[in-house]
């Protein structure tokens, strides 16, 4: 009898979640997250430490060659940074002339990943910051390389992040070069699929995909990835486009949660 009642409770929860997705995380789920995340974090810290020792002090094969390559890359990147600095200064001058306001001042909070891929199918991670740090559901999460996903559940000191490669993830996007519009949908290990891009739109392999800022969750212009392949069927309205996410979703240690646009808040 008890088991049947529990099954019914679970079914009601499931039906309610499907047809009325809530923005709030229930107390039981919060408690479960709070109890498991510290242990996961501890094990991850130990494993990362062991991995660091292995990579820094033991596994030193090809270190000399890697060092030479890095020195070359460093020189090249320094030149590029200088070029970009010049371009940025020019951009600032032009923007001032046009009277545009700064749009990219976001307040962020840094968080550490305490739990990686928890299920075979769902692409989520746990981070060690929650509502106590100002994090709310639907806040964007990024790495230094680009957007990682968005917060879907928040507990007091732990949050769950839905990665952009999950099937449930849909992000409104723009092709940076041609400004073609589409929806970036997660496709698991295959990366992401850019949907609803019209056949006539100009998209080529290597194009950068950024957030459009239209859906109200992600600010405009955040890096999402690059176009991997483009296929135009003989019939049909849209192109088949695959995108490789710029953030490495399998090896994430630290992330930034975008709390909001400071200027807009002011």
């Amino acid at each position: 009898m008890v088991a049947i009642v529990l099954l019914l409770v679970a079914m009601v929860m499931l039906v309610f979640a499907i047809f009325n997705p809530s923005q709030k995380t229930g107390l039981l789920r919060k408690l479960a997250l709070e109890s498991i995340a510290p242990l996961e974090g501890m094990i991850n810290t130990v494993s990362t430490g062991v991995g660091d020792v292995w990579e820094r002090y033991i596994f030193l094969v090809n270190l000399g060659e890697t060092n030479r390559t890095l020195v070359r890359d460093n020189a090249s990147l320094s030149r590029k940074i200088n070029e970009y600095r010049e371009m940025h200064l020019e951009y600032l001058r032009l923007r001032k002339l046009l009277g545009l306001k700064e749009k990219t001042d976001y307040s962020t909070v840094a968080a550490r990943v305490v739990g990686r891929k928890q299920s075979s199918l769902f692409e989520t991670i746990l981070i060690n910051k929650g509502s106590n740090d100002g994090i709310r559901v639907d806040m964007p999460v990024e790495t230094v390389n680009g957007v990682l996903g968005r917060v879907i559940e928040v507990s007091w000191s732990v949050s769950k992040v839905l990665l952009l490669v999950d099937y449930n993830s849909n992000i409104d996007t723009l092709i940076q070069r041609s400004r073609a519009h589409g929806i970036l949908q997660g496709s698991g290990e295959k990366g992401c699929r850019l949907r609803y891009v019209r056949r006539t739109d100009d998209v080529v392999v290597g194009d950068v995909v950024v957030t459009s800022g239209l859906a109200g969750i992600f600010p405009k212009g955040l890096m999402l990835g690059t176009v991997d392949s483009v296929k135009k069927e003989e019939t049909g309205l849209f192109q088949e486009i695959w995108v490789s996410p710029s953030a490495n979703v399998t090896q994430i240690e630290d992330v930034l949660v975008i709390l909001g646009d400071e200027r807009r808040a002011e």
Binding site: L6, V9, L14, S22, L28, L33, I36, I43, S120, L126
Partner: protein, 165 residues
Amino acid sequence: MYFLSLWLFSFLTLIVQVTLFDLLFHGTVVLELTMILVIYAGFKLDVTRGGILTFMIGLLYDAIAGIIPGLFIVIYMLIFFVAQGISDKVRVENSVLIMGFTCMSTFLEGVMIFFIYEVLLDIHLSKLLFVQVFVPQAVVLSILAPMLFSLFHRIEVIAGVGESK
């Protein structure tokens, strides 16, 4: 006390599942030990104790890994009831039966997830995903299941709760 140890045990199983396997397989394979624990509960425990254990495992796994609240609880509860039904009719110590049922349960889980995504949520999952995720999962879990069954049984005996069925 009994339910506290069940809770603790579910908790530890889940910890092993989501952390140690991540370290070993780097996120490529997630072995659902919790599924085998649910089958064990269905085969070996009575309806009330097994049902509560299954609910706890589903709730924890849902909170940690799930995206749709209640999904894993429903899947695990259904698997538990099927296991209960079978355990009344056949000898559940048979390793082949345990392996076969684990394999079937993994596929059942896959079918339910696909059904919910395709029919209720209108999200189209790649058909290949079934082959890439659930087939290897079913094979590995089936092989591990008899060993884990004896491990769970030992823990049950050590914890002093004995067999309840």
